[in-house]
Symmetry: C2
Subunit: 167 residues, 2 copies
């Protein structure tokens, strides 16, 4: 069995299952991130849905998770391999984009931007910050797995498989 | 001449020149974005270098611009086409990531996040906000051009060119 075939048959599905696990975990952790705190008799509630970037992150991870299942089914049957590669590319861009947006906001939450008058909030809601950090780490792993999937597809191209080789 | 050859010879270099123009413009506009404003005798200075996400955006655009020149030279000589495709992919991820991070921060600058106590700042520094918006739009165009480059390379794969076809 050639390296290309081994990659297509075992490594790619294995990466997809890992990516499915990572995206599902990131979605769940972000969705459940939540902390309430009291400041001068006011109850402040920190949750992901208050921040557009975190909402985007959760939706992107959920889409990538659903797509992972679909791609697993399609690649099991050897269908539409060219379309799957292009979709892999789009999904990895989506993951990369959402994690970057969420990371930018999380960084402001941790360090603040003094010039804009935005104070860090992780001192007030440390549990929420830890949960978001966890979701971002798992999201980063999912993003890296998708990058690996695309790069491996480019390195062992679809067109080198017998089923799609032109006569 | 086949569609694949036409794509390789004319469309791809044309897209690269456009991407070079877009990344160079985005870098320059972001680098020159600047506004000073006075609030209660205090002079506040808004510039891109105060915000990590905007610094990241500028560096990513500059890297993509430099890479565009290198890729133009390499693809003119028909060298390393496989490596160029993989690098295109990495650069488009970098552009996508940087624009998402910058966009997330720009959105907070425009709308604020009341739950975190981060007030919008575009009312105080409208010129700076317009300049950043301009840089982001051009950066978005650069990112779209790179996505188009990668998708066109995937659609008209390198392996379908005579020079790289296996015997």
């Amino acid at each position: 069995m050639t390296m290309t075939k081994a990659c297509r048959r075992f490594i790619t599905p294995f990466l997809r299952v890992l990516a499915l696990g990572a995206t599902a975990t990131a979605t769940a952790v972000m969705a459940m991130s939540h902390e309430s705190t009291s400041v001068l008799n006011l109850t402040l509630e920190a949750k992901y849905s208050n921040t557009p970037a975190f909402r985007y992150f959760m939706i992107a991870e959920a889409i990538a998770g659903s797509y992972s299942i679909l791609a697993l089914l399609l690649s099991c049957k050897g269908l539409l391999s060219h379309l799957v590669l292009m979709m892999d590319m789009v999904i990895s861009m989506l993951l990369c984009s959402s994690i970057s947006a969420a990371l930018a906001i999380a960084q402001v939450g941790k360090k603040g931007i003094t010039h804009a008058g935005w104070a860090p909030i992780c001192g007030q809601v440390p549990k929420f910050c830890d949960e978001v950090t966890g979701a971002l780490i798992v999201g980063f792993i999912a993003s890296a797995l998708y990058l690996l999937l695309v790069l491996s597809s480019l390195h062992f191209p679809v067109s080198s498989l017998p089923m799609t080789t032109k006569p």
